[in-house]
Symmetry: C2
Subunit: 431 residues, 2 copies
């Protein structure tokens, strides 16, 4: 059950038209975007503040019902953005009444003025909503180090809060895009105590973890009634095999933010006070599915990507070792360029396993492209067939599997190839 | 004294003509190659074995005087090539009579047949020279996983050993090139006990550490008379701030090999038995200079590079932390693409410092491009000037300096930018 949510599974067969401000769109753009139902207890609005872009929305605001609980996970960067600092502090209270997100400027490495700008936005939103500033959550994505024009955002906040309405998830997802070529949406319903609750999520990101454009943001809202502590446990666990298992370019954003809100305004279910409560099993599974769906949408929109790559590692000493090996493969520029060129250059996979630093034994290593065995026992596979191997790396979706042959550790990570498009996008992003 | 050897310091002003089998040459190709003098006790020869390339030399052999001492450092890959395995074993004896290097095939991940091929080459060379196979050192560079055609190499060995002559260093450096756009040569003379000795070195590598093409190889020979143990100490220390301080693409080769030979046939100096003998101070300095010169030549020929980048980190907790931060900057695809585009995107440097995992404090961090201060105290520099910053990243050589503001740790690493050329070269290397 890799992707069991309602987001579109099929990809466009013909070149889709342009979305956003990038000339081309990912060949793996979903053929149809998920249609997210309204969620009781949250209203959304978007607007054009002109932070950086012209002629498109660049601010989205969400207004939550009183008592909405919140949890979050953030970048591990030692140079986090002002909104990340703000959210970490606000999270200590555990309640949320509003979320304000802008694209075009990351408000990162902007010093005291950047902090004050973030606070201005929070205070302004709090005044409009009628709540404490600490109940306002913030995220900003765009260029690092540019002075943050807080006034442009605060100027339209009053209108946004007044106009906020249920639905509009698609518009919200579009307003937070930067180099994304498509909006990222996912939804699922789950049962708690036979009561149906809904989970909606949106995300933005095109380099997964990248400094000033592909910064990953994601916001997930449910109408279930779950306390902040439970939400946090679910989110910290759920991120491991979703957002923390993808990479586009190995660069870590200053702004990565994933927030999970629980409005408690859906079908009434009995209180749940512990994350390991069995009544949450279905909810957990569906939440994890939404997170994975959004994470995969991010990586399938990797900057300049032409192919999605799945890396399965098995037989490592333990799961952590497997994940490090998988990331060594997924982050290798030489593996990624080979896949871009449909070159079945399995020697580069061997190289990446060898450089991971994890225990590996050349003579026990097995490598597959798709179902095609290409290397085994320290040598090219006996029945190696160049044509079959090339075919296995020629499609839009490529799977690389490496069995280390030492233990039971397993991990899967997702990435994309490295193409001229990445160089184009990143050689002149600011200009 | 960054580069105090006799290799050419100036780079060509006009586009130099093609060298090797790549259509373009690095803009930082030395204007003039170092002219290496003959070294007593070593004879060189090159030949066309047709391992992979046609119409160019692809094997070089060196024959050493009896009693020649040897030391080596190798890739840390868990999947080393057959020649690396061979050399590690041979090194235990500490004496060398011959070196055989081929380009076009790395003899890596080639299983039992690969080991036997390496042994065949060593035994064949030993028979021609009249020595033990364990006194023959080997290196192979090229595609991983292709069956190694040992017979093509052994077939011409007899002739090479017969024809080997002093001099011919330039031809030797050319025979070991793969995607290199120019041969890498350096020489220096040093005094031991007022006796002049010579150090000659050659290298190949275009991705520094890369799996099947840019595999780094380097061979350094001196006519000084130094025991293997001393050589090994000098080499292990010398590699730290030279070959272990460069990166092109963060990928680690299965074949990286650096060997240091001491023939003892130069001007007779009194025996030296300890690496910390003061009489070796000048020799150490000159050896380190040759190693750094060769390492910089490798990185200045990085695949597809258009600019050389020097990264200076200061103020880190300790030197090791500084080096990890420097490599986080030097390996960041986003930093490298920004420099390629002459984009003074210092936010990406902040991002890279933040993701390094080392202690850093946003509010103490200072970043410079060349002499231009761009960021300080958690904010854009007060006197930030976009024009000056852009100019600082627009030349052929760019320096990025980050002061962490926490301690006294320092490190310098060298890299190159990431361009369309890298994608071109690596998207279809095998075809």
């Amino acid at each position: 059950m890799r992707n069991p949510t309602k987001s579109a599974k099929k990809t466009a067969k013909t070149a889709p038209k342009t979305v956003g401000d990038r000339p081309h769109v990912s060949p793996l753009m979903p053929k149809k975007f998920a249609n997210l139902p309204p969620i009781a207890g949250v209203r959304l609005a978007t607007g054009e503040a002109g932070v950086r872009y012209k002629g498109r929305t660049d601010v989205m605001a969400a207004v939550f019902a009183p008592g909405t609980q919140v949890a979050g996970v953030f970048t591990k960067s030692k140079a986090p953005s002002a909104p990340v600092d703000w959210c970490r502090t606000a999270l200590a209270c555990g309640e949320a009444r509003a979320l304000v997100v802008n694209s075009g400027n990351a408000n990162a490495f902007t010093g005291k003025a950047g902090f004050e700008g973030a606070r201005d936005v929070a205070q302004s939103a709090a005044a409009c909503v009628g709540c404490k500033a600490s109940e306002v959550f913030l995220a900003s994505t765009g260029v690092i180090g540019e002075p943050f024009p807080a006034g442009k955002v605060t100027k339209i906040l009053d209108r946004l809060v007044r106009e906020a309405a249920p639905g509009s998830w698609r518009a919200a997802a579009e307003a937070i895009m930067t180099t994304d070529t498509y909006p990222k949406l996912a939804t699922a319903s789950a049962l708690i105590d036979d009561k149906k609750v809904t989970i909606n999520g949106i995300a933005k990101g095109s380099g997964m973890i990248a400094p000033d454009m592909a910064t990953m943001l994601s916001f997930v809202v449910t109408d279930a009634r779950l306390p902040a502590g439970v939400l946090q446990e679910l989110l910290s666990a759920g991120v491991r095999n979703s957002f923390n298992s993808i990479t586009v370019d190995s660069d870590t954003s200053t702004s990565d933010t994933l927030l999970l809100f629980s409005t408690g305004k859906g079908a009434a279910h009995a209180p749940v006070t512990k994350a390991n409560d069995k009544r949450l099993n279905d909810f957990k599974a569906k939440l994890n599915a939404v997170l994975l769906d959004l994470a995969l949408q991010v990586v399938r929109d990797g900057e300049g990507m032409s192919k999605a790559i799945r890396v399965d590692v098995s037989g490592a000493e333990d799961d952590a070792a497997a994940k490090r090996i998988a990331f060594a493969i997924a982050n290798s520029p030489l593996v990624k360029t080979a896949i871009a060129g449909s070159d079945a250059n399995w020697g580069r996979v061997v190289m990446a396993v060898g450089k991971s630093g994890e225990a590996a034994d050349r003579d026990r290593l097995t490598v597959r492209f798709g179902n095609v065995l290409v290397a085994e026992k320290g040598d090219r596979a006996k029945k190696y067939n160049e044509e079959a191997a090339t075919k296995a790396v020629s499609g839009l979706e490529v799977t690389i599997a490496a069995d280390i042959g030492l233990g039971k550790g397993r991990a899967t990570v997702w990435t994309c190839d490295l193409t001229h498009g990445y160089i184009d996008i990143n050689g002149s992003y600011r200009s």
